[in-house]
Amino acid sequence: MNARVMNVKVAGTAGSDSRPAAPVDPAPPHIAARGVAVDFRIEERRQRVLNDINLIVPKGSFVSLIGPSGCGKSTLLKVMAGLIAPSEGDMRVAGLSPQEAVKARLIGLVFQEATLLPWKNALENAAFLLMTADETIKRREAFERAAAMLRLVGLDDADKKMPSQLSGGMRQRVAIARALALNPEVLLMDEPFGALDAITREEMSECLLDIWERTGKTVVLVTHSIDEAVFLSREVHVMGTGPARIIETLPISLPHPRTEDSYADPAFAAAENRLRGLLIESHRRRRP
């Protein structure tokens, strides 16, 4: 793993042009939605919460879904995770249906709340889903992998700590380590930093970017934060309401590797302004 980490680092620093910025992405589609729609039955009435979603996430890419509350971005993420079946259309994850992808353990999930088990320490929590997914894995092996993931997310001496002894940011790191311990191909995150303070958010963003660069996972992030979307993503899908759909896909041409300095890059401000404009537009078009 060290060698791999170093490789990525060297490639990243030696020439940032070796990793071209979006939109030119030669990687094959990893997640593909074709005409996905979702209806919820609310008190015997069918309500369309997601309409005609067409979306391609290339393998190894980092993509954000952004939009006003109630635009169905979390629902779309749940369709990708196989938690909600689409009413119409087709969702593919690595060429499989989401249910098959779940069985093949391709999907790692992170929510806004860390949802750690209060009776287990950080290490046991990080190993918990892996041990649930794979009954045959040896306890020691699961713990070793969980410990490695805790190091990866920057938790060095918290293994024995209980969730109540961890800060919000640290708990969320454990939740990310728990997802990574599954060694999924796709990481689906639903506002993972939404409950954290501004500085911790930025810290976690950098941590997440670092993990993405090291592991090469495909990441789909649902977020409210324009900053977060621009800083992290290669592509941002802006969603609108009434009915919920994708109104625009914006490639982010901010060069990699991205660091604290990226916030000062003119490309950052340009993308931020463009996104803000799109969001305001979608907000105005929202039906009362």
């Binding site: 995770a81 779940v102 353990r105 999930l109 709340e113 088990l117 009776w119 649930t132």
Partner: protein
């Protein structure tokens, strides 16, 4: 109150003891005052012992009848123990079945609530009629009284699991049974312990009521026997033994709670305001 977020078990034992004494001091002081006042009133106004015995008379009766009271306490304790354990098992099972089999739960839950509104004390004679004067009717009576708080609290615990957690489990292909076993049941333990604490006090009540209805041993029997003899000091002596027994059972459950669910929030019945 200590400021450090130390758990109960982490505090050094001397500090724990000192805190225990200072916590108990107000209650002990008040009790002593009441007992002294009681004794004075009886002596001053010459209240006859069969109406209200003085504390000293109760203690005298306790000393004179301690062997009979101990035998009776043992019989009652056995009823409470069996009844309580069975209540716990029935309550837990009912809650799990209701959550696990939704359709069945919808059918059963209203019936359980309905049954809860039947005055259980009134069932005691029927149970005696059906099962005689032995252990069985008492245990049955305890179960019908005490399973309800266990079932309701366990149900609340099973259903209060964060939906995100269920999603997480489903995202790795976990079955409903596995989610129940690994997440819902452990998550509901603090709720369950709260239900068991109510159930243990109900169990003591159930045992005494069962003995009132028909028994030839136990503290309830002693109380009833003493009342026919107008031996009020013995009634009070038996009441003291019942209370001590109930308290002992309660603290066993509370100790088990601290042991089993150290992550549960501490319950402080009298919280200082502000």
């Amino acid at each position: 109150m200590t400021d450090a977020p130390m758990s109960w078990a982490e505090q050094p034992s001397t500090a724990r003891f000192r805190k225990g004494v200072s916590d108990a001091a107000p209650a002990l002081g008040l009790s002593a005052a009441v007992i002294v006042f009681w004794e004075l009133v009886i002596r001053l106004f010459g209240v006859p012992s069969f109406v209200l015995p003085a504390p000293t008379a109760v203690v005298a009766s306790l000393a004179a009848n301690w062997r009979a009271l101990a035998v009776a306490a043992e019989a009652t304790a056995i009823e409470v123990l069996f009844g309580f354990v069975l209540s716990g098992i029935v309550g837990i099972a009912v809650a799990i079945v209701i959550v696990r089999f939704e359709r069945f739960g919808r059918a059963v839950y209203p019936l359980i609530v309905l049954f809860q509104n039947v005055p259980k004390v009134a069932l005691a004679p029927i149970f005696i009629l059906w099962f005689g004067y032995d252990l069985a009717p008492k245990i049955l009576l305890i179960v019908v009284i005490a399973f309800f708080p266990v079932a309701i609290d366990m149900l609340a615990g099973l259903q209060s699991v964060d939906p995100s957690f269920v999603s997480l489990m489903r995202s790795v292909g976990a079955s409903r049974g596995k989610i129940m076993l690994r997440v819902r049941i452990p998550h509901s333990l603090p709720h369950l312990m709260a239900g068991l604490k109510v159930a243990i006090t109900f169990s003591v009540i159930g045992a005494i009521v069962g003995e009132f209805a028909g028994a030839n041993q136990g503290l309830g029997y002693v109380i009833q026997f003493a009342s026919t003899q107008l031996d009020t000091p013995l009634i009070f002596a038996a009441l003291i033994v019942v209370s001590v027994l109930g308290l002992a059972f309660y603290y066993v459950v509370e100790f088990a709670e601290r042991w089993l669910v150290p992550w549960a929030p501490k319950f402080d019945p009298v919280q200082a305001a502000g």
